[in-house]
């Protein structure tokens, strides 16, 4: 179970984590992209934060759709439409809800990541955020089937995302700017996969904290 307030807390934590990791993400993007991913995401979540007060009393679907719209209109680049779509689709998947069952939660991520793939047409292995997101969704689905609780579902999702993120290092990019580098993209961790991992990790942190567990550092 994830509450509306936890979703709000989550978005705030994401904003904080992205601010803290702005330079780190930008550095990753400098290696194989155009050195703006951290700047873009930070700008986007600042916008999200500025709009949050006006929607945080609404349902989770509205909050997430507003988040998506804020990202779409402020991030730009590839990250903007991708993360915008992620949150829009997530919001649409849980419209009118004030709390999410574990089924809702997993369904929400499934729909969200489906949206990302539709938007960006990246395949797994293309060295993009999909390489963190898709394994996470699959792990969460599996955990749900196996009857894991909310924290455990998210924990498995985060673990899969982290592995997927790290596994982007040896890959050669086939989508986004990094693809122009050809073989020179090998050996670098994908910035989008990294920010995706951070997103999931922040949700786990919020949920597990309220479940009485210790918060771990987010990087």
């Amino acid at each position: 179970m994830v509450t509306r307030d936890q979703i709000v807390e989550w978005l705030k934590l994401v904003a904080r984590v992205l601010e803290e990791n702005k330079d780190y993400l930008t550095k990753l993007d400098a290696a194989i992209g155009d050195a703006d991913h951290g700047i873009n995401m930070d700008r986007g979540f600042k916008k999200v934060m500025s709009q949050l007060p006006s929607v945080q009393d609404k349902d989770i679907g509205s909050i997430l759709k507003t988040t998506g719209m804020a990202l779409i209109s402020s991030v730009g680049g590839a990250g903007g439409p991708l993360y915008g779509t992620l949150f829009m689709r997530a919001g649409m998947a849980v419209a009118n809800k004030y709390e999410l069952t574990d089924e809702d939660l997993v369904h929400m991520w499934e729909a969200a990541v489906e949206g990302v793939i539709q938007r960006g047409r990246a395949q797994p292995g293309d060295k993009t955020m999909v390489d963190a997101l898709l394994p996470a969704v699959e792990a969460m689905k599996k955990a749900l089937e196996e009857g894991a609780d909310t924290v455990e579902i998210l924990r498995r999702g985060v673990a899969a995302a982290e592995k997927g993120m790290k596994d982007t290092i040896p890959l050669q990019a086939r989508k986004g700017r990094a693809s122009y580098l050809g073989e020179r993209s090998i050996g670098h961790q994908d910035p989008g996969a990294t920010s995706s991992y951070m997103l999931l990790k922040a949700l786990l942190d919020v949920v597990s904290k309220e479940a009485g567990e210790e918060e771990t550092s987010s990087e």
Partner: protein, 357 residues
Amino acid sequence: MKKLINKPETFVRESLEGMALAHPDILKVHFDPTFVYRADAPVKGKVAIISGGGSGHEPLHGGFVGKGMLDAACPGEVFTSPTPDQMLEAAKTVNSGEGVLFIVKNYSGDVMNFEMAADLARAEGIRVLNIIIDDDVAVKDSLYTQGRRGTGTTVLAEKIVGAAAERGYDLRRLADLTRKVNMNGRSMGMALTSCTVPAKGTPTFDLGEDEIEIGIGIHGEPGRERMKWRPADEITELLALSIIEDPPYTRTLREFDEEKGEWVEVELTDEPFKAGDRVIAMVNGMGGTPIAELYVVYRKLAQICEDKGLTIVRNLVGNYITSLEMQGVMITLLRVDDEMVELWDDPVLTPGLRWKA
């Protein structure tokens, strides 16, 4: 980093404000969301042509807004795609009821943002088609990459399609024409120096005192090859032959199918240049190159085209699609037919390109 700016955060906005002050007869600038649009928009009975992309490539795109070219341009932050709300607002502002054509450079961010914008605009009852420009032969394959980048041909497409819109072509015909321009245009660029993105403050890449980068993109993306400096004639030959001898290139691009009401993948293959072709040749400075050097390049390009049996029927030599203050050059060749040449010769009145008006 020494630039004529106040601070990175306000650079794009202040530059646009300056442009609006300098050309009130030609264009206006709207902020929040940001777009540049024709002073006389919407133009009755005319399909609106909109383009956009990251800033830092001036005069592209804002400098090509005006009679005979773009109805609106959506500038993002430096080298960052603009956002769909910009394009949506721009479309609403310049649409006269005849629909809107989005001319989009093939960068994942641009492509996705313009697709979202098109969906949003259609949801508001505006007819929109997106056509992608992907002309940079420095990118070899499309299977294992994002595909070719949109570069110099964009300028030529905006001029030709803008003229056609002015003549009253309908949306579908304009989309077809844009696709045709794209399928006949090829570019390749090189850099003598890097550029510095204001927000970053340090050069995007390091080039040694006697190194050059061949096949560079317009954002300081790495090129095909780094090599020692060589004379302008050799550089020109390298670029020109890469373009002229480029084999047929097949790519899959996404377009909106109005009958089906959905996005479809379209496979397109272009034809290489051959003796007898007529071309428009552009020798484009990357921003920091003196025009006198561009003419040195044009001189050699003209010789090569003659050798290869290509007739240059029109040309542009100057800064049209740039990478901030980067020094370097991009060559674009566009195979043209009578229709395209006629449209090229039509009047144009924009800050960046102007004739017969």
